[in-house]
């Protein structure tokens, strides 16, 4: 067990943050995580993104565990 969460970033977020991965101390749920992320990485406020946990987009507060696969996803632009 680890006491940090690794968060994957994609698209323009990798430009904005200068990295494709962020590390933060573990939080209980996705709402706590967002508070923490926006405090630690204020540049996140400059762009739109949604959050996925275990490869599913989440719309509501979601419980997190050290094994959760978390990602920040800016608007999709495939095709």
């Amino acid at each position: 067990m680890t006491d940090t969460l690794t968060i994957r970033c994609f698209g323009q977020l990798t430009d904005i943050l200068g990295s494709a991965r962020l590390e933060v101390p573990i939080t209980n749920d996705s709402e706590e995580l967002m508070h923490l992320l926006l405090k630690e990485y204020p540049l996140l406020k400059t762009t739109r993104f949604i959050v996925s946990v275990d490869r599913k987009v989440i719309r509501e507060k979601t419980v997190l565990t050290p094994g959760s696969e978390i990602a920040l996803l800016p608007p999709f632009s495939g095709g």
Binding site: R8, F10, G11, Q12, D15, S52, R55, A71, L73, P74, P75, F76, S77, G78, G79
Partner: protein, 146 residues
């Protein structure tokens, strides 16, 4: 027949000949009367007065593959398709090259055409894929889907 266990992603530009390969392969099903297909190609649009020379595609690959399976299963059942296939590029695709291929097979044209359109719309809206538009002067901007 859905996706035939093949990967969604294709490294670089998709060769146009792939389309003919699927049609020849699926033609063995003599209950199929219609194939519909869509190909997306990188356009040399102007970005800050410079033409786009290429788009570099990145993706959250594992999530995209899972989502694509879910979309494919739903569309296959909804339209009663005999077969379907979706391929999307990863990495650099130059303008004039193909970045997306969608193809459907069905008994009648309505199902093949409508199923193909639905797949194109959902691929663009629901798959975690990002395109970085690259212009001549080493500049770039992130693509925005309309």
């Amino acid at each position: 027949m859905i996706l035939q266990g093949e990967q969604l992603f294709h490294q670089g530009a998709i060769p146009a000949g792939k389309l003919a390969d699927y049609i020849q392969q699926w033609g063995g099903d003599h209950s199929t009367g219609a194939f519909a297909s869509f190909l997306g190609q990188v356009r040399a649009d102007l970005v800050n007065n410079e033409p786009v020379t290429a788009i570099e595609y990145t993706a959250y690959e594992t999530m995209a593959e899972e989502k694509m399976q879910e979309i494919a299963t739903g569309v296959q059942q909804q339209y009663g398709l005999n077969a379907l296939q979706v391929k999307h590029s990863l990495g650099l695709v130059r303008s004039g090259e193909i970045c997306l291929m969608v193809i459907t097979a069905s008994a009648h044209r309505k199902a093949a055409i409508e199923g193909c359109n639905e797949l194109v719309e959902r691929v663009k809206k629901e798959l975690p894929i990002w395109g970085k538009e690259i212009t001549g002067s080493a500049n770039h901007q992130w693509k925005i889907n309309q």
